[in-house]
Amino acid sequence: MAGSAALIDYLRNRASSWIYTTGLSPADTAAALAAVQIIEKGQALRSQLWQGINQLKTAVLTEIPQVSEASSDCDRPLRLLPSDAAILCLQLPNPGAVLQASQQLQQQGMFVPAIRPPTVPTSRLRISLMASHQPEQIAALVRALCQIQI
């Protein structure tokens, strides 16, 4: 939690989930510090991640015939939900369909979880990207998504 000196001082005195628990382990703390230092040093990881996001978004909308944008009114089974981050969701008509789609992807070597109600209001495949994904790995995912049959 980041904030004013007064807020942080107040939380140290009033936030039970910080006060009544063992201090974060040295290993976790040091790893987090190293991560912050790496993130602060450069944009490289973030721009790699965004290249992947843009590659996937474009390919999903232009190369996969079953997909439409959430705002469009055409009747395709997969809908790309609005996103501005490394999480892209393809909405499917029902929980059964999304489970099937996720299993079909796994048969093709892709781990894409099916997220269903009550976790979310509508069933969807939830794709999350990492900066370390290579362009050809994202292309392989797009090819696998093209093969989904529901």
Binding site: M1, I8, W18, M130, A131
Partner: protein
């Protein structure tokens, strides 16, 4: 009958609703390629967005910290668990976020739970986005404050509920995720600052 028989019944209900979930084992570190229950798969299910969880620089920092301070801190931060590395991390976060200070909780879930409950209580109002993460929802419920949800990212609904209910309560907390983790969309935070100053609060 066992006094704990209700647990089996409750599990049965979860199964019947098709809501049953269980863990699946991944063999190695967080990475684009994983081995899930023996099958090699490309991983599109990780929140390690920058790919740092498997980074050797982080591993090395963690190993050095273990050699210096051991694996556990042996107490709460206020009693005997505070180490120089905590101070360093909190300073680094504050500098990065351009704030005067920062506090590191043991997880995001705990940070949200603890902060919300420190800020508001029974005499207060919470206005929360209906798509907020479970930690914000649960945190809000635990406060005992009046909890009202507004439609997802809907400033019109938020303002209307604020205008209608704000006067009845002592403090008001507006509660939203920055990045909504289920859809990946963003809260339009800048437009929040256009709210009248007496209605501002942010998480």
């Amino acid at each position: 009958m066992s006094p704990y028989g209700w647990i089996d019944q409750a599990l049965e209900t979860v199964h019947r609703a098709d809501w049953y979930r269980s863990v699946r084992e991944i063999a190695g570190p967080s990475a684009p390629w994983i081995e899930l229950e023996g099958q090699r798969l490309l991983n599109f299910a990780s929140n390690d967005y920058l790919g740092l969880a498997g980074d050797p620089r982080l591993a090395e920092a963690a190993i050095t910290a273990i050699q210096t301070w051991g694996t556990g801190t042996g107490g709460s931060r206020l009693v005997s668990g505070h180490r120089p590395i905590h101070q360093q991390l909190e300073r680094a976060i504050a500098t990065w976020k351009q704030t005067a200070a920062a506090l590191v909780f043991s997880s995001g879930y705990l940070a949200n739970l603890g902060t919300i409950n420190a800020l508001v209580g029974g005499r207060d109002l919470i206005l929360a986005d209906v798509y907020n993460h479970a930690s914000l929802k649960q945190g809000a419920r635990l406060t005992g404050a009046k909890l009202l949800e507004y439609r997802h990212k809907n400033m019109v609904d938020l303002r209307a509920q604020l205008a209608r209910h704000r006067g009845e309560y002592r403090r008001c907390l507006l509660l939203t995720d920055g990045v909504f983790s289920m859809d990946g969309d963003l809260c339009p935070l800048p437009s929040w600052w256009a709210l009248p100053p007496n209605m501002r609060r942010c998480s």
